[in-house]
Amino acid sequence: MNIQTKPPLTLAEQALVDGFAERLKDLPGSAAVSDLRDRLIGELKDHGLPTRRIESWHYTDFRVLLKSVPEGGNDAVRLIEPLVPEAIRLVAGADAGDLPAGLKVSDYADALRDGRVTTQMEPRGADDAIGRISGAFVSCGLGLDLAAGTALEHPVELQVAHGGGHTHQRFPVRIGANAAATVIERHTNRGSDPAFVTSVTDLVVGNDANLTWIIVQTQGGADTHLSQINVTLEENARLTLYVVNAGGKLVREEIHVVAKGEGADLQLRGVNLLDGDSHTDVTLTLGHDVPNTTSTETFRNVVFDRARGVFQGQIRVAQDAQKTDARMASNTLLLSDDGEFSTKPELEIFADDVQCAHGATVADIDDVHLFYLMSRGIPEPQARGLLVKAFVNEIVEELEDEPLVEALHDVIETWLERHG
């Protein structure tokens, strides 16, 4: 007979459990939602946070890395300057104002109160720590519904600008058939207290819809940011997904995409700017479930100081998903001997007529490039700055939308200035 002893809860795990008990009375939700929250926190207590023994968390030993969980936090509405001037700003709990025709916005807190979201709140599986914490703690969010055939002229910006402490939001989004839009999802700490943030987006891109979705994460240097975007691509749906990480102490960003309709296409681009003693993990699972779907995934990572980065990219090609074309690359500029970046590509291909490729590179700044710039009188720090910017801007410029490109350049520039 085996006696299994559960390890005692870590300080952070205990703080999560205690924080839940404290916050429970203020969390909105029907009886069913409350039951679900209780169950999820119970599971968290039983299983603890994931450790490196769990395959999908192997490079991010979350139980060890999460040292503390802050108390407090509020859902106070903060509107900040949008990244793109004309953007339609949306903030959970705030009046959305006049919306363009075809765009419906709902308050996720209402959905929690009437209990229709319990299925959505279920974690993806036993190892889904983000889904579990989010399901237990989620307090608000926004639902977006873009009617079929609607093309939005200006981007929508979902703002999660908090002031530290707990923030847990969810965003169910449906982009109707033939609709076209750009959505910016922004996470930033505008206070001085450390934050603990979860954000889960459930996105469905309808037939022939064309969506650009941009996630800009600029949390504070002591913050924990856990996010998940779960995407379903229907027939001929096109999604351009950009992920920019330029902040946070402990970051895990999960991207789960299923290409469910023929002709679906995903263009995923990521820029990870890492410094200090931060840990940033981008984990992708991508299912090419049907024939004739395509995707490319390119990440550019810049590592300063003692920062550590992880990219896990899993591509599954189902047995009948013939003619799949998927190309994945992770390129890292490692600017410090103490920095680290781990890339784990994982291709699971069950079909026989597909094209799948993956590649990873790690390099320092090219000496010849540096010499050339300096030989024109550009001092070394500026020359290095130009080269680092060039490395990541190549990805950003693929967007071919000038205001957006400029906005992302600014985010990158602001971050890089710390290293000038």
Partner: protein, 251 residues
């Protein structure tokens, strides 16, 4: 303006000595041609003048306007007026050409205590210089040297030289890879920059370039030393007889 005294240099962290006691003096206003067979140390000399760290000076000195530049880094030398036109200009993806030119120009001005150029002034200056070198404005929209043909790259080097207005120009095999029309454009660009207070060191294999950029002096480099100096007639002599005679005489 430039005085190289008994210069010895090797590839850093090796015993491979490439420059072995080189002496050379170039006065303000002078165009000095450096010729020599493959492996004589011509390109190495240009890199050492620019300050590339792959080479290590073990003996001797390089004086520029009377002061040693050996302790100056690459950017400091450039800001002080030394310019190297590369034999193989470097492609830098992601760095926009205009941004690169602007940063370079303004950093040099800053280093000399001059104010930054306004954007309209800068653009006007680039347009003018580019026009004279028959550089397609679309080229300037591309990243530095990316997708440029061999001839375009060389013209872009001369464009940078014209904009930065250096005092000592080192041209490393600027004629290589150029067709005759491109050679003429490049040579015209260089000649336009000849001036009494500017010196030029023109490194080349062939007499051909020197028909277009007529040198005041010619120096033959062999095994890391200047083995013969004189006027432009040396270049003609080399064209006819090759290096063998001069090398034999020096040996």
């Amino acid at each position: 303006m430039l005085e190289i005294r008994n210069l010895h240099a090797r590839i850093a962290d090796t015993d491979t000595e490439i420059i072995r006691g080189l002496d050379l003096t170039v006065k303000a206003g002078e165009v000095a041609a450096i010729m020599g067979p493959n492996g004589s140390g011509k390109s190495t000399l240009s890199y050492i003048l620019a300050g590339r760290e792959d080479y290590e000076v073990t003996e001797g000195d390089i004086l520029y306007n009377g002061e040693s530049i050996l302790e100056m880094d690459v950017a400091e030398r450039a800001a002080s007026g030394i310019f190297l036109a590369f034999q193989y200009p470097v492609e830098i993806p992601g760095v926009a050409t205009m941004q690169f030119l602007k940063v370079a120009l303004n950093e040099q001005r800053k280093a000399r205590g001059e104010g930054e150029l306004s954007t309209p002034d800068f653009i006007r200056k680039v347009r003018e210089a580019a026009g004279e070198l028959k550089i397609d404005p679309d080229m300037l929209k591309r990243p530095v040297n990316v997708g440029f043909s061999g001839g375009e790259k060389k013209r872009a080097e001369i464009l940078q030289m014209a904009l930065l207005e250096p005092k000592l120009c080192v041209l490393d095999e600027t004629d290589s890879g150029l067709d005759i029309d491109a050679l003429r454009i490049v040579a015209d660009g260089v000649n336009a920059l000849r001036s009494p207070d500017r010196a030029m060191v023109v490194i080349t294999h062939y007499q051909r370039l020197l028909e277009h950029i007529v040198p005041d002096t010619v120096h033959v480099l062999y095994r890391g030393q200047v083995v013969k100096s004189g006027d432009k007639s040396i270049a003609l002599e080399l064209e006819e007889n090759g290096y063998a005679d001069i090398i034999d005489a020096a040996a």
